[in-house]
Amino acid sequence: MTELVVREIITETPSIRSIRLESPDGSILPPWQPGSHVDLQLLTRHERQYSLCGDPGDLTSYRIAVRREPRSRGGSHYIHGFLRVGSRVWVRPPRNLFALADAPAYLLLAAGIGITPILSMARHLAAQDADWRMTYATRHRDDIAFADELAALGDSVTTHVSGESGRLDLPALLSALAPGTAVYACGPQAFIDDLTGLAGLLPEGSSIHVERFEPRQREHRPNAPFTVVCTRSDLTVEVPAKRSMLETLQGAGVPVEGSCLRGICGSCALNVLEGEPEHRDSLNGDDQSTTIYPCVSRSLSPTLTVDA
C-alpha cells in the first residue's frame, strides 16, 4: 500500500467530512476515472473503501468524503473523531467497479453519502457536454454535501429533500427516461433495492448500474465444506463450513488479497477454472460469472478450481 498524508479536512455537513490526501513528497498519484474507489487503511489498521470525489484531472491529491455512521464498526468513528491534518493513511491504487459506459443519455441518482462517486460522474459528463441529469436525495436540507460544486453544474442537478417533500418518486423518474438512458445510482441499501426492483419500468435499451457500500441482504443455503484446487500455487485446500474461502486460502499461503471482507469491494477476485461457484457478493456480477469473490462466496460443487 502507498502512504498518503491528510492535507485538509472539511466539514461538509453535520455528518460528512471530506478529506484531501496527498503523497508525502507531493508526487503525482495514480490516475482514476469517475466511479473509482480506493481501499484506505488507517493507522489503526482498519481498512475501508471510499469513492474518489475530487477532480480526476488534478492528480496532486485525492479527495474522499466519509459519513459518520451512528453504528460505525470503527472506520468512520476514527475518521470523524481522530483523523487530523498530517495523519498518515495507506491506499491501494484506485480501482473502478462503477465505470461510466458510453450511452446516449445518463440519469445519475445519489442518495445520502452515495453522492461521492456520482459527483465525479456529474462533473465528467458536464465537461463532455453529454446529455445527463442528476437527482440527489437527502433526508434533511443540511445533509446536502458539496452544494456549491453541484450548483456550479447548473440545471441538470436536482436536489430532493425527503424530509420535506416525501420519498423520491423513482417510478416517475424511470418511466420518463428516453430509450437507451444509462442509470447510475449509489446510496444506502434500501434505496438501491427499491431502484433495482423497478428495473421493469426502464425503457428499451436502458440499464441500471449500481454501487453498494453495504452488502446486499440475501438468504444463503447453510455453509458446507468444500475443496479448492489452486492451480498456480499447486495447492489443494479444504474450506471448512465455519471459515471463509478467503481466510482459508490465505491461511494456506495462497497469495490473494482481501480488503472489505464483505463482498463489496472486489479486491479478492479470483478466476474460476472449474466447478460451480456460489456467488454471495454484492458486486454487479451475474450467477453465471466465473469471477468469484472468496471473502463471502463459496462453492455449489464439492470442488472448485481457481487460478490462484
Binding site: L43, T44, H46, S72, R73, G74, H77, G81, F82, E247
Partner: protein
C-alpha cells in the same frame, strides 16, 4: 515458603512510609473519559482486564485487537468485544457475580497507561455486537463498562521496564516456548510441547 514468613505492614505504617498522594495526583482522577482519554482509547490495541468474584478471588486477563477495539460509546460507557479465546471466560463469569472491574490500557510506544475502573455487565445486544464486527466476525458477547474512575497512570513503570524497547524483544527467545510451558504444566512429555507449538501456530491463524 509461606507469605506469613514476611511480616506484613498495616495501613498506618504503609502511609507513614509512603506519605499521602499529592493533591494534583488526586485531582487527575475523574469519573469520565475526556477528549484526551478518548483519543488514548482510540489508539489502544491492548488492555488488561481485572475482575473478581463476589468472594474477592481475582483474575486479570489480556485483551487485544485492532486499536480502538475498546470502544467508548460516550464519555461514561465503554464496550469490549469478547473475541475467540479459551472459553474459560473467567472475566465474564466473575462479572456476572461481581460487576466491579479494572481496566489498564496500553498504546504501543507510550509509557503512560490509562486506568479505567467501573461497573460492568455482559451483553448479547445484537445492534451493539454488530458495531464490534472485525474481519468478518461479530462477537457473541461484549462487556459494557460504566466508568467510575478514569486516570492516566504515570510512565515510570513502563520506562523502568523498557517495555517498548525493540532490543528487549530478545528476552522472549530466552523463555521456553508456549508448547514447552503448556506440556510441562499439564504433565505431558516435553516432546508433546512441539506438537502443541505446531497446533498453536495453526490456531493463531484464526484470530476471529
Amino acid at each position: 515458603m509461606d507469605i506469613s514468613d514476611f511480616p506484613p505492614v498495616d495501613l498506618p505504617s504503609l502511609r507513614s512510609t509512603l506519605g499521602e498522594p499529592g493533591a494534583p495526583t488526586k485531582q487527575k482522577i475523574t469519573d469520565f473519559l475526556d477528549d484526551n482519554c478518548l483519543a488514548f482509547l482510540a489508539h489502544s490495541p491492548f488492555c488488561c482486564l481485572s475482575t473478581a468474584d463476589s468472594a474477592g478471588n481475582c483474575d486479570c486477563s489480556p485483551r487485544g485487537d485492532y486499536p480502538g477495539f475498546v470502544r467508548a460509546l460516550d464519555e461514561r460507557t465503554v464496550v469490549i468485544p469478547d473475541r475467540l479465546g479459551n472459553r474459560i471466560a473467567d472475566s465474564m463469569t466473575n462479572i456476572l457475580d461481581n460487576g466491579h472491574v479494572g481496566l489498564l490500557c496500553f498504546v504501543p510506544g507510550m509509557t503512560e497507561t490509562l486506568r479505567i475502573n467501573g461497573t460492568a455487565t455482559v451483553t448479547n445486544d445484537a445492534s451493539l455486537l454488530a458495531m464490534l464486527e472485525q474481519d468478518h466476525a461479530v462477537p457473541d458477547l461484549a462487556i459494557v463498562i460504566r466508568t467510575e474512575q478514569v486516570y492516566l497512570h504515570c510512565g515510570r513503570a513502563l520506562l523502568r521496564a523498557g517495555l517498548w524497547d525493540p532490543e528487549l524483544q530478545d528476552l522472549a527467545n530466552e523463555v521456553p516456548s508456549s508448547g514447552q510451558i503448556w506440556a510441562s504444566m499439564s504433565g505431558f512429555a516435553p516432546e508433546v510441547g512441539d506438537d502443541i507449538n505446531d497446533a498453536m501456530a495453526g490456531a493463531y491463524r484464526a484470530l476471529y
